[in-house]
């Protein structure tokens, strides 16, 4: 039978469980199942023919001196967003419980690639915007207003000579934000950014559209580097974001 190290009051495990008060009972239940499972199959992660605790039970893949000294430190899901970090030491027949920790808060369900995140963060941080797309305050969008002739007094039904309809078209100048949106949209028309922003009913929804586009770009950068037009698109997104959040 395994001996359990790192459990008990005042342990790191207890402290980390206390952080998640809303899931406390669930954690305790799942942790009990986990201990019973590991007691029967005392291995780090999962091995061929020896399944781990759930599908996600696996070792950290680490290299270097640390990896060679403690190669088995593992993590297994207890809930959809929490994992136990542990190490089964077969020599001493013990299991070390390091704590319960949450996953990526973004909730994408995909494991983060730290290097790529850093690259992306660096790109955002180093962005310089085109002088032609200066962020400015929001203004009214383009509208074509047709003014109908206003009749006064009683209607006159007498036939009148045919006259061209008097109409006045007032062309208001597009707001800088609209101009900028169109320009960013032109960098990558398939994304329909301008249409999405038009459909947004508030500034919050516009920000959500921009965030959605940034998240999409984060996903595709995991597959390949961005093309020049896509990089322009990203710069444009940040310019739009700055314009919307400018006080």
């Amino acid at each position: 039978m395994l001996r359990v190290l790192g459990a008990g009051p005042n342990s790191e495990l207890a402290k980390t469980i206390d952080k998640f008060t809303d899931q406390r009972d669930r954690i305790k239940t799942e942790l009990s199942k986990f201990l019973q499972w590991k007691n029967k199959t005392p291995y780090n992660g999962s091995l061929p023919g020896l399944p781990g605790f759930g599908d996600s039970d696996r070792k950290f893949r680490s290299g270097g001196n640390f990896g060679s000294k403690l190669p088995g430190i593992s993590h297994a899901h207890l809930t959809h967003n929490l994992s136990i970090v542990y190490f089964v030491d077969k020599e001493t027949n013990t299991i070390r419980l390091y704590g319960v920790y949450s996953h990526d808060d973004i909730g994408t369900g995909s494991p983060p690639d730290l290097k790529r995140q850093d690259q992306m963060g660096g790109r955002w941080a180093n962005m310089k915007f085109d002088a032609s797309i200066q962020p400015t305050a929001l203004g009214p969008s383009t509208k074509t207003i047709t003014q109908k002739p206003v009749s006064q007094g009683k209607p006159n039904y007498a036939p009148k000579p045919k006259q061209p309809v008097a109409s006045t078209t007032v062309q208001q100048e597009e707001s800088p934000f609209v101009q900028m949106s169109k320009q960013v949209d032109s960098f990558w028309p398939d994304r329909n950014l301008f249409k999405q922003l038009q459909n947004a009913r508030s500034k919050t929804e516009q920000l959500a559209v921009i965030n959605g586009e940034v998240n999409y770009i984060n996903v595709i950068t995991k597959r390949h580097s961005l093309y020049p037009n896509q990089m322009q698109y990203v710069r444009g997104l940040q310019a739009l974001y700055n314009a919307l959040t400018k006080k």
Binding site: M1, L2, R3, V4, L5, G6, A7, G8, P9, E12, A14, T16, I17, K28, L31, S32, L35, Q36, N39, S56, F60, R61, S62, G63, G64, N65, F66, G67, K69, L70, I73, H75, S83, V85, T94, R96, Y98, G99, Y101, S102, H103, D104, D105, P111, P112, D113, L114, K115
Partner: protein
């Protein structure tokens, strides 16, 4: 790396090692917490049996 880090890696060494796994699900901040927990782990802990641990969990 210092000699004593081979037998007992520092928090930084553990953190860097955890970060080298690009398929784990944790954020950088969480990896720092995990590294700290691993580095501070009390080797002298006598531990408890699984049944005792289950009792503790039940009553915690």
């Amino acid at each position: 790396m210092k000699l004593n880090e081979i037998s007992k890696p520092s928090r930084k060494a553990i953190f860097e090692s955890l970060c080298s796994d690009t398929e784990q699900p944790f954020t950088t901040v969480t990896l720092q917490e995990i590294a700290e927990s691993i580095s501070k782990f009390d080797d002298s802990d006598p531990g408890m049996t699984v049944d005792e641990a289950l009792d503790w969990l039940k009553n915690a």
